[in-house]
Amino acid sequence: MNVLVFLVPVSLFLGAGGLAAFVWTVRHAQYEDLEGDAARILLSEEED
């Protein structure tokens, strides 16, 4: 059972990483226009 000493922190760390990534996407307005962003990948001449 000693493997838990590693596995529990590792799983928590990975989960926290996912959460942090999600919060980052929310803050960067990535859910404001889901339809538009889905369509934008079809544009070839994005100027940014």
Binding site: M1, L4, V8, S11, L12, G15, A16, G18, L19, A20, F22, V23, V26, R27, H28, A29, Y31, E32, D33, L34, E35, G36, A39, R40, I41, L42, L43, E45, E47
Partner: protein, 708 residues
């Protein structure tokens, strides 16, 4: 947890992201793009906008069908709209002041809380599975402590909205759904912490978290539905850019309506809505008062006459001296009256609140009874508290919390795709009760220009004369005649001139000819011949006849400010037999109140200012997008397209939605019937609580999807 920092603080930087930091200095302009729908449109619009020299940045939002453009200061928006028109895209200016911005801080806040609750729930659940499957002693204690370390801060942050709502209700000595929820979450956390510290067997950290998670899901769905409706309603308001042309010593300048003062001279072009109350100084002409009075035909005005805000100029530009502006205009004062009169809607108690009123005291009573009963029976306070908390948790408030928002989200989404905007959160529930529909006539049942009847009887000479005379005027009746006779060769006339309020005169082979107001209809008079009446026939709105046919079984009325004869004619065409005309706004209001007093649930459909009071008083109200801002504000539902076709569907879906909400409550009650005895008997384990909570929530969500 650093992640738990205030998400609302990120709002301002995000607004800059869209424009790009280097562009932040310019003016922001919003354009409505009603017809864009694909990637090619986005590309086309943005390319066209960036090609305009004054544009610094442009970004299209497809969901809102809106473009945000950063331009050099003092750029005329017409330049942008022209550029888009050349590229083949319809665009309209939006009043930036009426939009509260693109980012939705409350929605983001809920989303982050939801994510935190979800993350913590999953991790604690994984640890709990180990405990449920038989971990003992040190391992179980360790897992309980790790769970506590994750759950306590997560619950403290994620469940804030419930705590705040519950506190607000308790402070005014009332109970709402958030009180039992908060109590369950707090008690479960505190008790589990105690159990962990004494090495106990049962900890409910996962239950506290999944309760928060499921309920936040409901809150977020609810919020998203409302904010979609709110932003669409804002868009309608923002389309009416409040701008007027002021004349100072002969120089015209465009100013915001808010900057007008009493005594200012303004000029309003044909087609424009008059923004102030005032006196006509110059320009005899016609004004369309249908929005205010329901009259379908324009009224002639001459200098010196009083003009009211909300009237639309028909033929010639009018110069008006303002006597009352802004909040002092009759239009605004009437709109303000409506806000005070909004009672019928406030009288309605939402299904969710009715359920909470029964549920909250019942659950608290049960939990208390369980505690007292077990304490008396065993003398063990710790065990008694355990049972009481299990009862609070297992009574499935999450299924109740999801019962309404899951259904309204599914139903409003479906109605929105049909072109109906549900503005009020309880509108769907009220719509389901409707048994009587009252229609306004002008602008609601009718739409656009009137059609001419009686032209078939004209000889070719007469038709030619009528067409030539009709070209001499901008009056809507004249335009309708010109339209109806568009394939007739116009006669050669001389000396064509219009006398406002009467009609158009001309000379034909030396004889005087006239087209205009007759005894009771429009007439064509040719010297030496009997006059020929040309009665106008108003056209029903698209889909109105079919929609009314589909409303079979409901009591239908037409109530109009127009003459009884005109109203009856149109009602007959629409197939409605209960007709009243010549009604003033107060009469409409009293008719609606009479119907309500008879126990009928009235759906009022109207567009004008004369309908506003009636719209507010009715059980539920609907107005077309073309209605006055004040009327739209007074209505629960806005019809976005031109056709009435979605109306019967809306009624059908609302009834279905109400049935689903009731089923959801029934499902929640059913789960409780099984779970409560188990909990009261002291057999409830954290595993049983987790299963009951998840299955009831998921059943409720799946049942709600069936609204489609």
């Amino acid at each position: 947890m650093t992640i738990a920092a205030c998400p609302a603080c990120a709002v301002a930087p995000a607004a800059l992201d869209i424009a790009g930091p280097e562009h932040a200095a310019g003016d922001e302009v919003f354009l409505s793009l009603p017809n864009i729908h694909c990637a090619a449109c986005i590309g086309g619009v943005e390319r066209a906008l960036r090609a305009v020299p004054q544009v610094r940045a442009a970004r299209v939002n497809l969901r809102l069908r809106r473009a945000t453009v950063v331009v050099e200061p003092n750029t005329d928006q017409a330049v942008l709209i022209d550029a888009l028109a050349q590229a083949g895209h319809e665009a309209h200016e939006l009043d930036g002041a009426a939009l509260t911005g693109r980012v939705d801080p409350v929605g983001r806040d809920l989303l982050v809380r939801l994510a935190v609750a979800g993350f913590a729930m999953m991790n604690v659940m994984v640890l709990s599975v180990a405990v449920w499957s038989g971990a003992t002693d040190a391992t179980r204690d360790l897992f309980h402590w790790i769970s506590a370390a994750i759950a306590l801060p997560a619950v403290f942050y994620a469940a804030q909205p419930f705590f705040q709502n519950a506190w607000r209700a308790l402070r005014v000595r009332r109970l709402n759904m958030d009180v039992p929820i908060s109590l369950a979450i707090i008690l479960a956390s505190v008790m589990s912490l105690f159990e962990a510290s004494v090495g106990g067997q049962h900890a409910y950290f996962d239950a506290a978290l999944s309760l928060s998670f499921f309920l936040l899901t409901g809150r977020y769905l609810d919020h998203r539905t409302r904010s979609a409706a709110r932003s669409a309603a804002q868009e309608l308001a923002a389309l009416e850019v409040p701008r007027a042309t002021r004349i100072v010593e002969g120089v015209r300048s465009s100013v915001a309506v808010a900057d007008l003062r009493a005594g200012d001279h303004i000029i309003v072009a044909p087609g424009g809505r008059i923004p102030v109350d005032g006196t006509l100084l110059q320009g005899d002409g016609l004004v369309d008062r249908s929005m205010l009075t329901g009259e379908s035909l324009p009224v002639a005005v001459t200098s010196g006459d009083g003009i009211a805000a909300g009237e639309v100029v028909v033929d010639h530009p009018l110069v008006i001296q303002a006597t009352a502006v802004g909040a002092d205009t009759t239009l605004r004062r009437m709109a303000a009256l409506v806000e005070v009169a909004e009672t019928s809607r406030n009288r309605y108690t939402a299904l969710a609140d009715r359920a909470a009123a029964v549920y909250a005291p019942l659950v608290h009573g049960l939990a208390l009874a369980a505690f007292i009963g077990w304490y008396i029976a065993t003398g063990d306070a710790r065990h008694a508290l355990n049972v009481a908390v299990a009862t609070l948790i297992i009574t499935c408030p999450c299924a109740l919390g999801l019962a309404v928002p899951a259904v309204t989200t599914a139903a409003s989404g479906r109605l929105f795709r049909m072109g109906l905007l549900i503005k009020s959160p309880t509108a769907l529930e009220r719509l389901a009760q409707v048994d009587t529909v009252v229609f306004d006539k002008t602008g609601t049942l009718t739409q656009g220009r009137a059609r001419l009847s009686g032209i078939q009887a004209l000889t070719s000479d007469q038709a030619g004369i009528a067409r030539a005379l009709a070209h001499g005027s901008n009056h809507p009746v004249a335009r309708a005649i010109a339209d109806a006779l568009h394939d007739v060769e116009p006669a050669l006339l001389t000396n064509v001139h219009e006398v406002t309020g009467e009609g158009v005169f001309g000379l034909w082979h030396g004889r005087t000819v006239f087209l205009g107001r007759g005894a009771d209809a429009t007439e064509l008079r040719i010297d030496g011949q009997p006059s020929i009446p040309l009665p106008m026939q108003e056209i029903l709105r698209t889909g109105a006849a079919d929609a009314i046919h589909a409303l079979d079984g409901l009591q239908l009325h037409v109530m109009s400010g127009d003459t009884v004869a005109a109203t009856r004619r149109l009602a007959q065409q629409a197939g409605i037999s209960m007709v009243e005309g010549d009604l003033r706004p107060a009469d409409k209001l009293s008719r609606i109140n009479t119907l309500s007093d008879q126990g009928r649930h009235v759906l009022m459909v109207g567009d004008g200012l004369n309908d506003t009071a009636a719209l507010a008083a009715a059980h539920v109200s609907l107005s077309p997008a073309s209605a006055l801002d004040a009327s739209r504000a007074a209505s629960d539902i806005v019809l976005l397209g031109n056709s009435f076709a979605p109306l019967p569907h809306a009624l059908r879906i609302s009834r279905k939605a109400r049935a689903r909400i009731r089923e959801n409550f029934a499902i929640a009650v059913l789960y409780n019937c099984v779970a409560i005895p188990v909990a009261l008997a002291g057999f409830a384990t954290p595993l049983a609580a987790a299963l009951a909570m998840s299955t009831s929530s998921i059943t409720v969500i799946l049942n709600s999807m069936r609204v489609r």
